[in-house]
Amino acid sequence: MNGRWRTWLLVGLGVAVVIAAIYFPKLKRRVKTAAKIPQPSEEQARRELTTPTPTNASDPMVKVKMFWASDEDENALSPITVELALSPEPVLRAKQVLNTLLAGPVNSDLRTLPPDAALLAFYLLPDGTGVADFSEALATSTPSGIESEQLAVDSIARTLEANVPQVKRLKILIHGQEVDTLAGHLDLTQMFIVNTKAAQPSGLSVPVPIRPPAAAAAAKSKESRR
């Protein structure tokens, strides 16, 4: 190799070193930023992969009542009216309202279901029994306790009652399986009466709203002001 080529090689190496010196801090910053971004959990990844409920642009916008926790009493439910393009078909409609319930309200403190949980399937049997199949996160991430578990199930049942009148009873499955309890307390082997007027009495569990009279009256007046 003659002297001229050697010079060019050294110049090239020098340029590469300069470029690397400029780029390296930027690369370091990017790695640090990426580390700060929370990695999606398995449940979140599953939820992203789950086929989203299709919405038809021609579906009319309807005011629906979603039952999230009350901002006055976190242990009580309060109806919040939101506008959604809802399908008239009951199964699709049930999926749409339950997915909205899972997505939670604007104030995330008022959500009743864990953010990781996903609705995997919803079936409606001819006798009016709705079967809602949720991912494992509903059982593993719902706070353990009679009160919190009752609030979670009650929010599902009351949201269905308000928006999908065809559903008379509700059966909750976790990842396709019947489980003993939601998170150690509330009995999921039983069905929950959703539409108390339509459902026949048959020894089913009735989700009873946990709401002190004062909070109920406040929620009612708030609802009537809307």
Binding site: S144, I146, G184, Q190, V206
Partner: protein, 271 residues
Amino acid sequence: MRFPSGLFRLDRSVLAAVGFAAVLLSLPAWAQSPAQTIPAAAAHQSTAPIQTPPYPTVAPPPVQRTSLNIVVLDPAHGGTDPGARGAQGIRESDLVLDLTFQVRRALEAQGFQVLQTRSGNENPSFDDRSAMANAQRGAVFVTLHISSMGLPGTVRVYTLPDMPSRATAGGILNWDFAQASYVTLSRKFGDAVQGQLVQRFKGSPSTVQTASVRQLRTTAAPAIAVELSSVSVQDRGDLNKMMPGVADAIARGLAAFRPSYVLPGEPGAQP
């Protein structure tokens, strides 16, 4: 009709003798079994002869009312199941065990016999816990919990919602719905305890709540769940301070409930 006079006299005397003999023969039978007359209506219904039982008949003894003597306390969770978990490593399974010992002392002071579904860090199944209460006569069941959330310093009592009785034709209770016959009694018991709790813990409900608590469903006795709020407190001491009050309220509530304890099927039982 005309009869020859001699023959007529003979017939009358023969008939009188036969009639007298028949009356004499029937007397002993009459005297021995005066109650064996068949009412006219019964005679119309059946032509079969009525037979006396080959054994002496004894009137059934009057049904005795069972008195409430035993309390089965159930510290929830345990073993690999810690239940609700809060800040600073607070575990529901540990706290409810401490609470159980305090409730036990208060109940024993009232003269109740107390059984526990667990005394250490074990985790019996729901059915095993219910079986302990179902094996007793004159018992109530109290399962103790601490919630993940809720207004700190409050206590709620839960019973199952109404469920139709699932007794079989032979009167045998269906295990899966053993609580069905006791829901009314459980609610009365729950109201008595909740009434005591609300006096000590402001913000608690004044009446019992209903929820489909799994543990209660298979329990064939008046059964309640008591849940304190909550493991979300910053200091475990806050929950420890509540325990004597909760124990006293349960003991007093149970004493108040005692006169109402009439088991299904016994005289004075509510439907």
